[in-house]
Symmetry: C2
């Protein structure tokens, strides 16, 4: 059974949807203002510094835990459908994760759709990755991580790197990733009553903004149509109550069939990106600890 | 008339009071969790780094705006009745203020009542001030600033410094300061229907926790009973709808009578610490800009 604390994200998502419902013609700026409050359900981790940096034209936050390994880097890609979210909205969650791994996280404030539709985001994230390598960080000491649309980008930027012959990072950690641009996964039905935020209607609106004129089956926009051969190990976390549950399970199958090491943890009764509640709900703290335990050896850090 | 954006703090305070109302026996930990959400109504300023530091035993955040003067310091004291609040809950607001002034702010996470009642807070804040001076910062390049109970502490720590012969800072900037430990100000009545958070009942409960066994008329706990002679210039901001409005007006009279330079800006229709909405509501941005304009010359910075 979910902890009483985990109800905080239900309340947040109800507030999001009520606010949308009251103003269905809400503009993109107002929607972004609303989604800036995602991390409000979490607590600050403490013991982490936050330093703004211009990563070759992209504004980012370095989240630097006290005593962290300086030569290991998480490229942290926020969610929000490629339309919402920022280095600010996701600061606390990636601060917790950086602390659990014991290295720096670069929280990337990429340009958003619809002003900058696909392929702006995977291209910009790949540029930021190459900026990190240019700082002298070895590819084997980098992991990509992202939530929701950030989980998509953490995956597609590595697919793009592979296609272009760029040295690959050590691992990919998608959290509640959004892959399916057509919103046809079975879990849209089976979790219709359970998911407090995501519905096929919402996803199709956001996908339209994110894709622009691109096909919803373009492999770098929708990895369900991608070839996973040669990809680094993946660790996916997803909530059992998510409409997007099948996005994770379908990519797990695809990637395994292509010979990729994939681990998926389904967290019973959890909502979309429940890890936002780190420092508040035990399920989120458990998930963050598991990210640390899985990533540390893959980045060459002691267990 | 108040801007539509300024309604955000009304909603937050209604949420605070509704949550209290539903659980009147709420413990201090739960109350603190609730008040950690104060800054949720504001936006991140951007262009500010946040660095944790141990200031002689007191955990603090340095808020460091890009390009800020390193040798000028605001000692930023959060509110919450000496019971709630932290370096995290007030990070964004003091980030905005540091940016407007163009110098660093040290957001002080002092030990809280009731575990640490009066005079723990003014003593610890004075210790932090002396730690800042020991870093080589000149007293004339330091200002104290604080909101609500932090406005009290920004005042009392300087009264304590004066009493002990410590060199005084250049200025004091109390925002919606709480001075009156007996909750007898006229504005409790005149603003009873206007103030969305503060009532005499709430203040007397919090005062009991903050004071411990001290008298509510102890001058270093309640500056309405203090001698202001020799104090540095003060700039007070307060909302026109506040139950605590008279706290500011009474201290203005007292300090002026003692020959102190005092300026008070009353912001029409504004709630308690409306500056939390910096980056969101124009009234808060105006207030923050005025703090910058008033403080810069007093800290020897160009206008």
């Amino acid at each position: 059974m979910a902890s009483p604390q985990a109800a905080a994200i239900d309340r947040l998502y109800e507030y999001f949807l009520t606010t949308f419902g009251a103003k269905p013609d809400m503009g993109v700026d107002e929607m972004r203002d609303l989604f800036e409050h995602w991390c409000d359900v979490g607590r600050d981790p403490g013991g982490v510094d936050y330093l703004e940096v211009d990563a070759g034209g992209t504004p980012c936050f370095w989240a630097v835990p006290k005593g962290a390994a300086q030569d290991r880097v998480l490229i942290a890609l926020h969610g929000g459908g490629c339309v919402n979210g920022s280095r600010f909205s996701h600061r606390k969650m990636y601060g917790h994760i950086a602390k659990a791994v014991g290295c720096r996280a670069l929280i990337v404030d990429y340009k958003r759709a619809p002003e900058h539709p696909f392929p702006s985001q995977p291209n910009e994230c790949l540029d930021v990755y190459q900026w990190v390598l240019a700082q002298g960080i070895a590819p084997k000491h980098v992991a990509t991580i992202g939530d929701s649309a950030g989980g998509l980008l953490a995956t597609t930027m590595v697919l793009a790197a592979r296609d272009r012959g760029v040295a690959l990072p050590a691992a990919i950690v998608p959290l509640s990733p959004w892959y399916d641009m057509e919103a046809v996964g079975e879990s849209y039905k089976t979790n219709e009553a359970n998911d407090k935020l995501i519905s096929a209607g919402l996803i199709l609106v956001i996908a339209g903004m994110a894709l622009g004129t691109a096909s919803p089956r373009e492999p770098l926009a929708n990895p369900l149509f991608a070839d996973f051969r040669g990809m680094p190990p993946m660790y996916i976390q997803v909530g059992g109550y998510e409409a997007l549950l099948d996005d994770s399970l379908r990519v797990e199958k695809l990637a395994k069939a292509a010979g990729v090491e994939v681990k998926v943890d389904v967290f019973p009764e959890m909502q979309h990106v429940f890890q936002f509640m780190a420092g508040h709900a035990p399920e989120a703290d458990d998930a963050v600890a598991r990210i640390g335990a899985w990533l540390r050896p893959r980045l060459g850090l002691a267990k």
